[in-house]
């Protein structure tokens, strides 16, 4: 699915989180929203996911206006910064949640749900943890479960808010590779937020550099490195 963001702006009371921004994301791309704290990355991602509504501007999915579409209709696989796993459910039930929440007509049977959950547990390479509770997992395992839960609804796109933010350097590297593989096998349009420029450059096909609610530059990692459009981009991606 391709996504067009057209003059999107968001105000919280009197403060502007997002100045009008425009951006086109081709189908199947792996995009990084890169910028310092408070630059509006999460706000933009939440608007795409339908968790926040813009003050003005439009969002288009496959060319169709989706600005007012409800969060449920969007079917965006969303991975939250601190994973937001359901703490009172086992890993299995967490992943099955989206399937069970479907309308009766579209809901798969119990056996089919079990098959799909187990396939996802294999995909994230944690086949034997279905019976555990989130509190019994490591940070990296929780992150992968959150990803599996988002994939279970057969999403139209994948949105991840600092997916590796709370993890140590070694685990980050592994999971980065994992996300790349999952993106390549599913072919889903994927947008992830990060303030780690190395992570954005290494992983993404397209990097969107943001600062103070504005998009500073959009480009391939190599182009942003070799031809930064402003001093801010140069300084921020130099590290």
């Amino acid at each position: 699915m391709y996504i067009d963001i057209d003059e999107l702006a968001k105000e919280f009371g009197t403060s502007r989180a997002l100045h009008p921004v425009s951006l086109s994301i081709p189908a199947g791309a792996l995009v990084a929203l890169l910028g310092p704290s408070g630059s509006g990355k999460t706000t933009l991602l939440r608007i795409l996911g339908g968790l926040e509504f813009p003050t003005s501007g439009r969002v288009l999915f496959d060319g169709k206006d989706a600005t007012g579409m409800s969060v449920q209709e969007r079917r965006a696989g969303f991975v939250f910064q601190h994973y937001a796993l359901f703490r009172h459910m086992t890993v299995f039930e967490n992943i099955a949640f989206g399937l069970r929440a479907r309308k009766r007509r579209e809901r798969p049977g119990e056996a089919e749900i079990g098959r799909r959950v187990n396939r996802l547990l294999d995909l994230i390479r944690l086949p034997n943890i279905g019976g555990r509770y989130p509190s019994q997992l490591s940070g990296g395992q929780r992150q992968r479960v959150a990803l599996a839960r988002a994939l279970a609804i057969e999403p139209r796109m994948l949105l991840l808010d600092e997916p590796f933010g709370a993890l140590d350097a070694k685990v980050r590297k592994e999971l980065r590779q994992g996300l790349r593989e999952i993106h390549d096998t599913t072919g889903l349009t994927t947008i992830f937020v990060t303030h780690d420029q190395e992570e954005a450059m290494e992983l993404a096909d397209l990097v969107v550099v943001m600062s103070m609610g504005r998009i500073e530059q959009i480009g391939k990692p190599a182009d942003i490195r070799s031809r930064p459009s402003s001093d801010f981009v140069r300084a921020f991606t130099a590290a």
Partner: protein, 287 residues
């Protein structure tokens, strides 16, 4: 280097052993004096003329009517306060709106106002000379000195219990899990039922038990608004006071024993649930 391992074995709490014994002694002493002794006295006095006299004390028509009234009021007030409490806690914990601080203060109002004053306020509002008095009389509605008044007073007094228990838990848990459920396609009702409610169920249960105990035990506000009409508007606590003032101690104390027993049953129920679901409880609290 050599003395580091010695430090490593120091216990986390450094209080002296005797000091700890004194602390435990003080708490046990107060528990016995303030909690156990009074309860024991109530049961002992109730049974001072034997089981039969005690049974007669709680099976007189007036006593039976008081028991029925108290249970009915609790059975209506508690569910209503569950709904109010969840709604108020939800609004406060999950949304930002103007007047939020004011709403929190308002929820605490029944805690800070004396129950007698609350009862008087209701009489002034709904009594025959009150603000709504003429309207109520014109429509033949009786609130003061009748069942609706007792229910209103009980609702007012027990209002904070559920909300107070839920607000800190809901604030601590934030909105993230609910938002995750929404992105997974769940409807608002399903999010509430399968994410919000399970996460707050222990706090909710605790609030409900407290509200129930208070609903059955409330004296001051109900005494003012009920008019104490024997066999009609006397709840258990009021009936106990009347019997006691008439020097019918065995009857008074048997009814008091029954009221205390109801409270003990709710406590036992809570402990039982906590014991039964200890594993789940630990899983939801950690994280």
């Amino acid at each position: 280097m050599a003395d580091i391992p010695v430090q490593a074995f120091t216990p986390v709490t450094t209080e002296h052993r005797h000091f700890r014994a004194v602390l435990i002694g003080i708490s046990v002493f107060f528990m016995v004096i303030l909690l156990f002794a009074p309860l024991a006295t109530i049961f002992a006095t109730a049974l001072s003329d034997g089981w039969k006299a005690a049974a007669e004390g709680i099976s007189s028509p007036d006593a039976l009517s008081a028991i029925r009234l108290t249970l009915t009021v609790a059975a209506i007030a508690v569910p209503l306060n569950i709904i109010f409490g969840i709604a108020a806690a939800w609004a406060i914990a999950k949304f930002d709106f103007r007047g939020k601080a004011f709403l929190i203060t308002l929820i605490d109002l029944p805690f800070s106002v004396s129950p007698v004053v609350a009862g008087l306020a209701l009489v002034l509002l709904f009594g025959s000379h009150g603000a709504f008095g003429t309207w109520l009389i014109a429509h033949d509605l009786k609130i003061v000195f009748a069942f609706p008044g007792i229910l209103l007073a009980t609702l007012f007094i027990t209002f904070p219990f559920v909300a107070r228990e839920l607000i800190p838990v809901m604030i601590e848990q934030g909105r993230a899990e609910e938002e995750a459920a929404l992105t997974l396609g769940a409807s608002g009702w399903r999010v509430f039922r399968s994410v919000t409610l399970p996460n707050i169920r222990w706090a909710l249960l605790y609030g409900v038990l407290l509200a129930n105990a208070r609903a059955m035990g409330e004296f001051g506000a109900v005494a003012v608004i009920s008019g104490k009409i024997r066999g009609e508007t006397t709840t258990m606590p009021i009936m106990i006071e009347m019997l006691y003032n008439e020097y019918l101690s065995v009857a008074a104390f048997s009814l008091a024993s029954l009221l205390a027993a109801l409270a003990l049953v709710t406590l036992a129920l809570k402990s039982l649930l906590e014991w039964r679901f200890a594993g789940q409880l630990a899983a939801t609290r950690r994280h």
